[in-house]
C-alpha cells in the first residue's frame, strides 16, 4: 500500500486560510475536518466556516475526512444531525469518517453512506505518556479487530495512533505527527477565559471557541506539552518517524502554534 499523507485542521477550522498554504497541507491528499475532542467545537463552527473549508479542499482537488468527537448526552442529537447534514451536503467531497465513540461506530452503518470508517485517536485506550519513554502506544486495538476487518461487528477501514510502532493488524493504521494526544476532559480551561467564576469550566451554554486564539504551552522534564482546546498534547521528539504506517496525519495545530513550541 502506498503511504497516504493527510493534514488535519480539526479543532482549528477557522484557520483554513493560513493552513492551506503550509507545505504539509499542499502535500496532503486528504484533509481532516471537524473535531477529535470537542462536541461543542464541532457544533459551534458556523456553517460559513464549514463551507469555506470544504470549498478550499475541493478547490485544491483533495478529499475531506470528517472527524466526529465523542458526543456528550446533551449534544448527542445535534451532533448526529450535523453529521447527517454535512454528509448530505458534500456527498462526494467527504470521502471518509473518523469516529471516537464505540456507539457511534456501531451506528455508522446507518448514516455513513458506505464511506470508510476509521477508529479515531480516542478509540484506543492504550497509555501514551512521554514522561515514561517505555509507555508508547502500540497496536493493541488491532487485537479486537477481526481478520475480516470488523470491530464490534462493524467494518472499519483502519485505526489511528499517536506514534510509530511495529505491530500491525488486519486493517490500515494511521499515525499522527508531530503532536501526540495525551488527555482531555469536558471541563475546559481555555473555553472559560472570559466567563464568570460560576460559569467557568463547565460550558453549560455552549462555547464561542476562545481556543481559536488562546493556548497554553508547558515544559517539564524535557517534554513540551500543549493545551489546545480541551486536549493536552505532547510534542513528539525530533527524529521520531511514522515508521511503516499506511497513512500519516500531520496536525495543523503544530503549524498554528509553531512559534510557541
Amino acid at each position: 500500500m502506498t503511504r497516504q499523507y493527510a493534514y488535519s485542521i480539526c479543532d482549528m477550522m477557522d484557520r483554513i486560510g493560513p493552513a492551506s498554504v503550509q507545505e504539509e497541507f499542499r502535500k496532503a491528499g486528504l484533509i481532516y475536518i471537524g473535531s477529535y475532542f470537542c462536541d461543542l467545537y464541532f457544533l459551534s463552527v458556523p456553517e460559513k466556516v464549514w463551507e469555506a473549508v470544504l470549498e478550499e479542499i475541493s478547490g485544491q482537488n483533495k478529499n475531506a475526512v470528517l472527524v466526529v468527537p465523542v458526543p456528550s448526552q446533551r449534544n448527542l442529537d445535534a451532533v448526529k444531525e450535523k453529521v447527517r447534514h454535512l454528509l448530505k451536503s458534500w456527498p462526494e467531497l467527504i470521502a471518509e469518517l473518523v469516529v471516537n465513540d464505540p456507539a457511534f461506530l456501531l451506528s455508522s452503518g446507518e448514516w455513513g453512506g458506505g464511506r470508510d470508517v476509521w477508529c479515531g485517536r480516542l478509540f484506543s485506550k492504550e497509555i501514551r505518556d512521554p514522561r515514561y519513554p517505555h509507555f508508547r502506544q502500540n497496536d493493541r486495538i488491532s487485537g479486537h479487530i477481526s481478520e475480516d476487518g470488523t470491530l464490534l461487528g462493524t467494518k472499519v477501514a483502519g485505526y489511528e495512533k499517536e506514534m510509530y510502532s511495529d505491530g500491525r493488524g488486519s486493517v490500515s493504521a494511521a499515525v499522527h505527527v508531530p503532536l501526540s494526544y495525551i488527555s482531555m476532559g469536558r471541563h475546559c480551561e481555555i473555553g472559560s477565559i472570559r466567563r464568570t467564576v460560576t460559569e467557568k469550566f463547565r460550558l453549560w451554554d455552549g462555547c464561542s471557541r476562545p481556543c481559536r486564539e488562546n493556548w497554553n504551552v508547558y515544559r517539564n522534564g524535557g517534554v513540551t506539552f500543549l493545551k489546545f482546546g480541551r486536549a493536552v498534547y505532547a510534542l513528539q521528539k525530533h527524529g521520531e518517524d511514522a515508521g511503516s504506517a499506511d497513512r500519516v496525519i500531520y496536525d495543523g495545530i503544530a503549524d498554528l502554534v509553531r512559534e510557541d513550541i
Partner: protein
Amino acid sequence: MRLLVPVNSGEDLKILKKLKEAGDLRETTELYMGFDLPEWYERFGPDEDLNRMSAFRKEANLSGIEQVSELIRAASGIDVYITLNGADYTPEEEEFLDEVMAQLADAGAFGVILGDLFLAETAIRHGLKPVASTMTGIYNKDMARLCVDMGFQRLILPRDLTLEEIKEIMEAVPEAEYECFLMRNGCRYSDSNCLARHSSQYGAICTYLDRSQYSLCGKAAESFTEHDASLYNHHLFASAYQKAACGMCALWDLQSLGVTAGKVVGRADGGRSLLSDLSDLFYDLKIAGRCGSRQEYLEKMRMPRHYDSICYQGLNCYYPEVRYR
C-alpha cells in the same frame, strides 16, 4: 441509594463497621477494592496494569486473591466489587482474567468493575455482576445501550456529566443500574480519555502540568487585559478547581433519579481519612430520604467536612448545577 466505599485493609473495614450513621451495612453500603497479583506481573511485565490504580501497588491494592477473599469473608454479606478496570487488555491478558474472575467468584466477590467492554461476558459466565467502569466512557445514551447490550448490569457514569444528562441516560436505558460519583478526588480531565499514566513517580498529568513551567499563548500575550483574564482563569483551573470534589448537595437529586450507588473515591487514602466524609454522607442520605424537594434537602443537610474551604462558587462540586444554575 447505597454508598460504594473503598476498602484496602481489614482495618478500613473495622473502621467502617464502627460507623453508627451507616446503619446496617448490608443495606446501606457496598464495598470495592483492587488487588495486586505477582503472577500477573511475572507474565505480562511490571508495567502492565491489572487495574487503574495498579501503579500505586500496596498503597491502593490488596495483596493477592487470598487477601481479597479474607476481606470478603470479613465483610459478612456486604456486596463486594473488585476493580479490574484497565481499559486496554491484550487478548492474552483477557484470557488470564478469565481465570482470575473464576477465583474471585470462588472467593465470594459480588461483581467486577471492568474497563474493557469485551470482559462483561466473562464476568457473567462466572456469576459475577459486570459493572462498566468510568473507563468505558459512557457519555451518552447510545454508549449506555451498547454497554447493556454487551452484558453490563451496572453503569458507572463519568464524573463530568450533568444531572440532566444522567437523567436522560437513565430514562433511555432504564434496565441498567447506575452509579455516580459522589465524594473526593475530583478530576479535571476524563477518566476514559486520560491516556497518561497514573502513578506516584510523576503524579497524574493534570498535577504534573500544574507544576510545569507554562506560557499562556496566542491572544493572552497581546494585551494586559487579555493576559490578566487568561492568568486568573489559569490559576483557578490549576489551583482551585476540583481539588476536593464533593456531590453532597446533589444527594437528593441522585436519590430521586433512582441512582443505585453513590461512589466514594479514595482507594489509596485509607479508611480513617474517609471516616468523616462517610459519616456526613450516611447522615445526609437519611435526610434526603425524608425530604420532598431539593430545596428542603439543601436547608436540612449537614454541610461537608472542610465546608469553609472547599465550598466556593461550585469549583469543587461534582454537580454544581444544584446550586449555581
